[in-house]
């Protein structure tokens, strides 16, 4: 994070960032080094930490492109995650395939609306919100937006925090597969939807992780260092 925030609402206090000072902190051991790359983009990718041999970057490497790639992958898999059955319940007498949506409908109609709402929010709303929110943040970085930086930062933190809970459904399926295995009486198997669903959750989490929130402030504070390859290069000269 860029700076200790002040209480003033919109105004971003004038601060000097490490990048502006020609410094770069090692993202792995947090050793502060001189940014030897300067304006040279060829050198930018080749700096290593003298202490831990980690790659030195003022911002996360290829943050936006990674975020986009993971977001697109998650969006693609979001379709099979909802269209395909996540759970296949075989009892003595019948076999039933359940998609996430059919499970929600089942709980809703069978008199457990609370559970239906919970699963709906955790399994459908949250992954979708993550996709939309991260996309929105990434787009705003692309557009070099300078307004609403603080709400965007809040939004990102919410996404990051809430994201891990969207695992709930997959977690339940995984638990059931492990527990409900009375051979001959009832067997629960995970369907292709569960894999896709898990992939969506993991991909959105990775996307959130790839996203470097400092980019939100790069534009807002002063000049724009926020391009993926050379976040600081063009300004410093």
């Amino acid at each position: 994070m860029t700076a200790p925030h002040t209480l003033s609402a919109d105004a971003v206090p004038a601060v000097t960032t490490a990048a502006e000072a020609g410094l770069v902190a090692c993202p792995h051991c947090h050793l502060l080094c001189r940014d030897a790359a300067g304006d040279d983009p060829a050198l930018r990718d080749r700096l290593r930490c003298p202490r831990c041999d980690g790659r030195l970057h003022p911002r996360k490497v290829a943050s936006l492109s990674r975020t986009w790639a993971l977001l697109i992958a998650a969006a693609i898999l979001y379709i099979p995650a909802n269209a395909f059955p996540v759970m296949r319940t075989s009892t003595l007498l019948s076999t039933q395939n359940d998609t996430i949506l059919s499970g929600i409908i089942y709980f809703w109609t069978s008199g457990s609306p609370e559970l239906a709402v919970l699963i709906f929010s955790v399994s459908i709303v949250i992954p979708l919100l993550k996709l939309v929110t991260l996309s929105f943040l990434a787009v705003s970085i692309h557009r070099s937006a300078t307004t609403g930086t603080r709400p965007r930062a809040h939004l990102f933190r919410i996404v990051e925090t809430v994201g891990r809970w969207s695992m709930l459904d997959v977690f339940v399926v995984a638990l059931m597969v492990g527990l409900v295995h009375f051979q001959g009486l009832a067997v629960i198997q995970a369907g292709p939807g569960a894999a896709a669903f898990g992939a969506v959750v993991v991909l959105t989490m990775l996307a959130a992780h790839s996203f470097d929130p400092r980019m939100i402030w790069d534009r807002a504070s002063a000049g724009p260092p926020a391009t993926k390859q050379t976040p600081t290069g063009n300004r410093h000269g």
Binding site: T2, A18, A21, V24, D35, P50, A73, L77, P192
Partner: protein, 545 residues
């Protein structure tokens, strides 16, 4: 993370900062990260493609009711294997039926052909038994009978009842005709030697409403046993018969009591040539009727009996030495004005085919005159009809044809139609006649007179013996010993005669003669003794006159 606040004050001091190491490797990760969405796309597309690929044909089945059918839950099963699922249920436009849309799996696409049959398997309590009990718990499902046609089809009309025989069961179908359906229903078993070998598939009333046509299915390999001579009969329920051979209770199996059934049999000594599928047969009411055939060719014969025909019923057998060769068809009574007498008229049908070897020896059916000539010879040889008692218990009569010994010649005119066969009195009637003759003869014996005579004779004999006693006593003293001896002998004879006469009737003729002699003798003796009393000297001197 990149920020280290404690370093902030020292940040302008660049000289104190550690220099980063310059690596000479090449970065290519950014391009690699785009493999992830590519991979996701491949996975997603492959899933969709696989689903589309695995999706079989969609078909629509119409049923009268959607009872037990739920979208996305009700399965379509063939041999208990899921081959599809109900996706939707809707009504037809006129609301008369329900349309069930079914999505078959890809490997089940062969089921969507012209002659496939679909029905709903649900608990069923029919006369043929209870079925589908497992669906009480698991819910109904749609059963399939796979068709073999090559032409595809999308819309089907569901059966209301499960088909009796799946189409992949090897076997043959045959047609039966009957007047009475009895307790038969679709699914009723068909037995061969009490082994269930097939089923009644369905039955229809003929268009004219007179007869019922049944279609039966016989499983392989039992279909080989159906020959063109096979006889079919109702094996339904319990067959209780009281007939010439007494009380008979017959049932094919316990199951047939409840659900009816059909049995068949091949007449003995017929060639076992399997009948082609679809052959038509008659369904007889019972085993006996079935085995009476062949019905085809018969001769109507009339018989007149001069006796009561009580106990003879229509349908009673005509028997030739134990073989049933015909039936009584009608009974009546005729008045003959010439003799002022009534005769019982019995009409029978005779099936010459049932005497197979005899039938083969006959001239062909067309040559009626020659056949009747043969019959004339048989009648001349002593062929007669006779009423016989089949069962003393029930008094049932039957007509027996046989040759009688020393037949009295009769007039036989084979040209009449129907032919009239001569009759002889039945065995009971003949016995009755004999008894009557004996009684009549017995009546003629004058037992009264015999008894009177015998009494009189015995009375006079009594007197006579007394006289003789006196005489003997008298003669004891005076008369010659020879006379006394002879009188003693006579007394013994008389005593034994008396003993003989008294108890024993059959000796009466001899006794009468003996008595006559004895009376003659006593008369002479009396005369002798009288004269001896008057003139005892005459014994010495002889009689004067």
């Amino acid at each position: 993370m990149a920020d280290t606040p404690p370093d902030k004050n020292a940040s302008p001091n660049q000289g104190a900062m550690p220099e980063p190491v310059v690596d000479h490797g090449r970065r290519w990760v950014p391009s690699l990260v785009w493999l992830i969405p590519l991979l996701a796309a491949v996975i997603g597309i492959s899933l969709v493609v696989k689903t589309i690929w695995m999706r079989g044909p969609s078909i629509t089945i119409s049923f009268v009711t959607a009872d037990g059918i739920e979208p996305n839950k009700t399965k379509v099963k063939y041999k208990d294997v899921d081959i599809g699922e109900v996706k939707g249920v809707s009504l037809t436009d006129d609301h008369s039926r329900v349309l069930v849309s079914v999505e078959l799996t890809k490997d089940a696409k062969d089921f969507a052909v012209d002659d496939s049959r679909f029905w709903v398997v649900r608990p069923r309590f029919a006369e043929t038994g209870v079925s589908g009990l497992n669906t009480l718990l698991s819910g109904s499902y749609i059963g399939v009978d796979a068709g073999h046609s090559d032409s595809q089809r999308k819309e089907f009309t569901g059966l209301e009842d499960p088909p009796v025989v799946a189409s992949d069961v090897p076997g043959q179908r045959y047609v039966l005709h009957t007047d009475d359906i009895g307790s038969l229903a679709a699914g009723s078993p068909v037995f061969y030697k009490r082994i269930p070998v097939g089923h009644v598939e369905r039955y229809t009333l003929d268009e004219d409403g007179r007869r019922i046509t049944l279609r039966i299915f016989i499983k392989a390999p039992y279909d080989h046993f159906i020959t063109k001579d096979s006889k079919f009969w109702h094996a339904s329920g319990v067959d209780v018969r009281i007939d010439g051979s007494g009380l008979k209770v017959d049932t094919e199996s316990l199951a047939t009591i409840l659900m009816g059934g059909i049995a068949f049999e091949d007449p003995p000594e017929t060639p076992m040539t399997p009948a082609p599928a679809g052959s038509e047969f008659a369904l007889a009411a019972n085993h006996i009727d079935a085995m009476k055939a062949p019905e085809g060719y018969h001769v109507a014969v009339v018989m007149r009996f001069h006796q009561s025909i009580r106990g003879l019923l229509v349908g009673a057998p005509v028997d030739f030495r134990g073989v049933e060769i015909g039936n009584v068809t009608s009974l009546g009574i005729d008045y003959d004005p010439a003799t002022q007498d009534f005769t019982s008229r019995v009409m029978v049908n005779i099936f010459p085919d049932r005497l197979q070897s005899f039938e083969r020896s006959l001239p062909p059916e067309s040559d009626r005159a020659a056949r009747l000539e043969r019959l004339s010879q048989l009648v001349a040889h002593g062929l007669r009809a006779q009423l016989k008692t089949g069962s003393i218990l029930t008094g049932q009569l039957y007509v027996s044809l046989d040759f009688v010994k020393n037949p009295q010649p009769v007039q036989f005119n084979p040209a009449t139609d129907p032919i009239e066969l001569p009759t002889v009195p039945g065995d009971l009637e003949a016995l009755y006649d004999q008894v009557q003759q004996i009684v009549a003869k017995l009546n003629k014996i004058p037992f009264d007179a015999i008894g009177e005579n015998a009494r009189k004779a015995l009375a006079s004999l009594d007197t006579a013996t007394k006289h003789i006693d006196d005489l003997v006593q008298h003669a004891d003293h005076d008369v010659l010993p020879e006379i006394r001896d002879s009188l003693k002998e006579m007394q013994q004879t008389l005593a034994s005669t008396q003993a003989s006469v008294a108890p024993d009737a059959p000796l009466q003729q001899d006794a009468r003669q003996a008595l006559k002699g004895v009376m003659d003798a006593t008369r002479s003796l009396k005369a002798l003794t009288d004269s001896l009393e008057r003139e005892p000297e005459s014994l010495v001197r002889g009689r004067k006159d």
